[in-house]
């Protein structure tokens, strides 16, 4: 039953995407939209395949990925560390909570001009913006995951003779992993979005820059290509994270 249900779900899921592409094609073929504004899907996908094979476009993707991964990794390390500290130390908690309350709803893009002025137009400002945006979901889910750990687990570990300082890594961290991974997933999507936006605002390379250049010269086809690329990148990265999740959580009961 399961395999069949899954296949029918997948088929059902393809329908709206196919419909969307069909609608797109129909709009072009019946002349509702001029090809300069809405290029036919076939053309866009051909262009995408062509671009993916050129080394220039690959370098743009590499630049975007470098910023994305640097920012995301820093955000994961900081987020997990601060989240764990806030969940386990009341003093840290008292400082972190109000700070997060103020900083989390702050629109980080508005900080971007300040980052530009402070650290310049290179990689650093974009990476910092990714960190600022991806940090909070990861921090918050780590914090909630770690503070939900059952006290009984900690008592059992202590009764079994685990030293106090090891409890954090042997009990609290593993128990918080599912929640941390959920936060990482949100953080990853945000990183994709933010790195693209930062590159659109000021950049000399990267996918966002490709889009802006295309928009300035009214190359409609080239505007769609980076958008589809970032969507595909998001899907692939999400899939990788999902794989990591199943690997890390292989002992956990299905949630």
């Amino acid at each position: 039953m399961n395999v069949r249900a899954v296949t029918s779900d997948v088929l059902l899921g393809i329908v709206p995407i196919a419909l969307l592409i069909a609608l797109w094609q129909a709009l072009v073929s019946f002349g509702y939209a001029p090809a300069t504004l809405l290029p036919p899907p076939g053309l866009v996908f051909m262009r995408l395949v062509h671009q993916l094979s050129t080394s220039e476009y690959q370098q743009e993707i590499a630049a975007t990925l470098f910023r994305l991964f640097s920012g995301f990794s820093i955000a994961v390390i900081l987020g997990v560390a601060i989240g764990l500290a806030a969940a386990t130390h009341p003093a840290v908690n008292a400082v972190v909570r109000p700070l997060v309350r103020v900083l989390a709803p702050l629109p980080k893009v508005a900080l971007y001009p300040a980052l530009l002025l402070l650290v310049g137009f290179g990689h650093e400002s974009k990476i910092l913006l990714v960190v600022a945006d991806a940090l909070f979901p990861i921090l918050l889910s780590t914090y909630y995951g770690a503070s939900m750990v059952e006290q009984k687990l900690i008592w059992s570990a202590m009764a079994a003779g685990t030293p106090r300082r090891q409890i954090l890594f042997k009990v609290v961290l593993p128990a918080a992993v599912p929640s941390i991974l959920t936060g990482c997933r949100i953080g990853l999507v945000i990183s994709c979005i933010v790195v693209f936006l930062a590159e659109m605002i000021t950049s000399t390379d990267g996918l966002g820059h490709v889009l802006v250049t295309a928009a300035r010269t009214f190359q409609a086809v080239d505007m769609f290509v980076p958008l589809i690329t970032i969507s595909l990148l998001g899907l692939i990265l999400n899939g990788l994270l999902e794989g990591l999740r199943t690997y890390l959580l292989r002992g956990f009961p299905e949630v």
């Binding site: 029918s8 779900d9 997948v10 059902l12 899921g13 393809i14 329908v15 709206p16 995407i17 969307l20 504004l37 008292a94 909570r97 109000p98 700070l99 997060v100 309350r101 103020v102 900083l103 989390a104 709803p105 702050l106 629109p107 980080k108 893009v109 508005a110 900080l111 001009p113 300040a114 530009l116 002025l117 402070l118 945006d133 909070f136 979901p137 918050l140 909630y144 949100i186 999507v189 945000i190 994709c192 979005i193 693209f196 936006l197 659109m200 605002i201 889009l211 295309a214 928009a215 409609a220 505007m223 769609f224 958008l227 970032i230 969507s231 990148l233 998001g234 899907l235 990265l237 999400n238």
Partner: protein, 261 residues
């Protein structure tokens, strides 16, 4: 004694704001560069922006677009999310599409939408609408999925039609989760608003911010950052207040919002 603690709890966010401004002030004094004015200079530049009629109209126009985009987005996303949560077919119909759209930055659609609809209000509001929709759909979906089957069965046994069950059982039960989504959507609406105005430099708060950056008016840049930040924090606090009244019965799942870009 208790009131002392409660007072401290209330004051904590304000203290955090003051602390951040203090750190800024000290950092600016140490770095001492022209492009990084002190917090005090930036705060002093705020009244001249808010006092200027044109900037005020610009900022209010931004807020109006945001309100419309947010309102329409919420209205359409909640029913869709609830239906996805209650019907497996609807869920598997829309899920892949939403997954494909999710990592695309909505503000990046701005150049394309501008080609079709021009640089006016419609394009910007549409982008805000798109940005708000996804988290609201996602959270409504999660909320509706978690509704207890037994309550629905009881409702059906008492003769409620499917539509009535949706409105009288699923909607209230999923409300806390929906409001969490709306809160994320609110922050997101603000972010999309700024970004869309930054890309379509015509009017609005984002336009003021980035024009000031281009012209090197650093005081204005930092003052606008404070204004936009205060809008985010203020709107969030107001929404949190409303949410507290609407779903008093439910434990707040996340008492701090997750912000997206």
């Amino acid at each position: 004694m208790m009131s002392g603690r409660a007072l401290l709890g209330r004051l904590a966010p304000w203290l955090a704001c003051l602390g951040l401004l203090g750190v800024w002030q000290i950092a600016a004094l140490i770095l001492d560069t022209e492009s990084f004015p002190t917090a005090w200079q930036a705060v002093r530049a705020i009244p001249s922006i808010l006092g200027d009629k044109e900037s005020l109209i610009n900022i209010l126009a931004s807020l109006r677009r945001m309100a419309i985009g947010f309102g329409v987005g919420v209205m359409m996303s909640i029913p869709l999310g609830l239906m996805m949560g209650r019907s497996r077919g609807v869920a598997s119909f829309f899920n892949p599409l939403l997954m494909v759209i999710y990592p695309v930055p909505k503000a990046a659609l701005m150049p394309i939408i501008m080609l079709w609809l021009g640089v006016g209000d419609v394009a910007k509001t549409l982008v805000i609408f798109l940005g708000v929709s996804l988290p609201v759909i996602y959270h409504s979906f999660q909320g509706a999925k978690a509704v207890e089957e037994k309550m629905l069965w009881s409702g059906a046994a008492m003769g409620l039609s499917a539509a009535q069950r949706m409105i009288r059982i699923v909607l209230p039960a999923a409300l806390p989760e929906i409001l969490t989504g709306c809160r994320t959507g609110l922050v997101l609406a603000l972010i999309t608003m700024i970004t869309s105005e930054m890309i379509a430099r015509q009017s609005g708060a984002g336009n003021i911010l980035f024009n000031a950056l281009d012209m090197g008016q650093y005081d204005t840049v930092y003052a606008m950052i404070i204004i936009v930040g205060a809008m985010g924090i203020g709107l969030d606090a107001a929404f949190e207040n409303l949410r507290g009244r609407l779903v008093k019965w439910s434990e707040p799942g996340f008492d701090i919002p997750l912000s997206f870009a």
